[in-house]
Each structure stands twice: as structure tokens, then as C-alpha cells.
Symmetry: C2
Subunit: 163 residues, 2 copies
């Protein structure tokens, strides 16, 4: 019997992980989503080694996840800060999904330490309810269970022939 399978190497999950799958990368993005902007903020919040932080920030900047912007505090010289691009902010659902998984299966006995809430930045119409990540199909079926979905080849699929 001959069958074929989607090439697992030519896959957006693998490509995504090649950018944000290195140690610390997602935690840096998380802190940035939470408002960290300066080298020292990332360093002291995460406890990451300084040289590694420098190379991670550089990697994230060249990947387009973050942007290096000059800023100047009054009575101080010009420095650089790091902020998320649109592409970086788009990692929020990934981080919420990871948070939810960690809360469900590895929680602190006290309960979750962080709850993500529906509170827009401008705070108008803030409803403050906890946020969850749900799977939803284009036909509008929502809250799909992990078993209700499967992977199918897309237009860019490469195949492996298996005997």
C-alpha cells in the first residue's frame, strides 16, 4: 500500500517556532505585551542573562516581531526601547492558549496567577470578563473540541511518499 503524507518540515508551526520557539522568546513577547519596553525592564522582570537578552531582542527585531525605537527621557540622553509590531501583538492568542493550558494542568495550588480580561486599551466599554481562546470554524461552529478538527493539506503542501 502506498500513501502520502504532508511534509512535516514544510509547516507554519515549524516556521513559527524557528522564530519564537527559542528559549525566552515567548516570555519576552509576553512581557512586551504587558508593557515592558526597555532592555533593563526585560532583564529584571525575566532574570534572563544580558547577552542572551541582547541576541534575542535582535532576533525578534530582524524577524519583524519587535521594533527598536529611539526615545529620550527628559534630562537623559537618547536610548532605545523595544516595542511589538503588529506581527508581535498577533502572538497574543498563542500566549493566551499557553496560559490557559498551564492554568488548567500545571496551576499553582492558589489558582492562576494571571487572568486575561476583556478590557480594551481605551477602557471604553470595558466588560472585564475573563477571556478564553476557542476554536471556531468558518461556518460559525464554535467551541470545537480538539478531537473535532483535523489537519488537511493546503495550497503550499509538499508531500512525502511512503511505501
Amino acid at each position: 500500500m502506498e500513501t502520502r503524507r504532508i511534509d512535516p518540515v514544510n509547516c507554519s508551526v515549524a516556521r513559527a517556532l524557528s522564530v519564537v520557539g527559542e528559549r525566552w522568546s515567548l516570555l519576552i513577547v509576553r512581557e512586551a505585551l504587558d508593557g515592558a519596553r526597555r532592555f533593563g525592564e526585560f532583564h529584571s522582570r525575566l532574570g534572563i542573562a544580558r547577552n542572551l537578552l541582547a541576541t534575542r531582542l535582535e532576533t525578534l527585531v530582524t524577524a519583524g516581531v519587535m521594533r527598536r525605537v529611539p526615545y529620550q527621557e527628559p534630562g537623559d540622553r537618547q536610548r532605545f526601547a523595544y516595542e511589538l509590531t503588529e506581527q508581535g501583538r498577533a502572538l497574543r492568542p498563542t500566549l493566551v492558549a499557553l496560559l490557559e493550558w498551564g492554568d488548567t494542568y500545571l496551576a499553582d495550588p492558589q489558582g492562576p496567577s494571571v487572568i486575561v480580561r476583556h478590557r480594551p486599551v481605551d477602557d471604553a466599554g470595558s466588560c472585564d470578563e475573563p477571556v478564553k481562546v476557542v476554536l471556531e470554524c468558518a461556518a460559525g461552529h464554535s467551541h470545537l473540541a480538539p478531537e473535532d478538527v483535523c489537519r488537511t493539506p493546503g495550497p503550499g503542501a509538499r508531500f512525502l511518499e511512503i511505501s
Copy 2:
């Protein structure tokens, strides 16, 4: 001015990444979701070094993400397979979120290689439409943008005092 901040180390994202944040771990889970069960399947699909695969599978088993089950093919001796637990299957939304992000920002020029579709395992009532991950709050507001949510302290939060 004195303020306080959620301790970034006592966080479910960090705990989740300590289990599935190592190189290859999420790709192993992805292949398992796609049906891989045996050592050799993971090895040949991913091209991961055999010793590393062995330690990763062991880590995932002790973390409760996978389970080592004996099986026996007719006319062969007993061997062991690895299958996802409930906890492991719960990583599907995380992987879909990563896939979506990779598709959006790092796509192959041909388009995505994999599309996740709404197709239950039993195939009854299969609608086959593409699946997306969306943020939704408990009040029913759906399709929240990354800017519409924020992190707030939960019951297990530890705080850092900042001067």
C-alpha cells in the same frame, strides 16, 4: 511613586513553557495529534536525533502530556507506543494559534501547507470548514483583538514591589 507588578516568574505561561517549550516538544505533540505513535514515526517525520527524541518522550510522559502504552503487532514482539493524554490533546489550540501566526506572517509563497478543518473523528456532521482560533470573553464578546485584552492578577498572583 511605589507600584506593584505581577511576578512574571510565577506564571502559567512560564510553567507551560517549562514543559513544552524545549526544542522539538511542540513538534512532537503536533505529530502525535496527526497520528504518530511509534518512536520511529516521530524520528522519521521530524528528523530529530534519536537520543533527544528518547529524552523528550520521557519528559512528555512524566509531565503527563503523553502516555507510554504497550502494543503488539501480529507476528511481532511487544513494543511501546506513545499517545497523547487528555492534557496533551488540550495543546491543540496552542498549536492552531501558532500555525495561524506562522501562516499569516511567515507563509510559504505557495500559501499555507496545512489547513485545520472542522472534521470530527467520527466524521458524522463533518462540515470541513477551516478552523481559526478566536479570543472570547465570558460575557460572550467574541473575536477580540489583541489590544482588547489585558493581564490582571489572579488568586495565585505573587507581587513584586517596585520603587
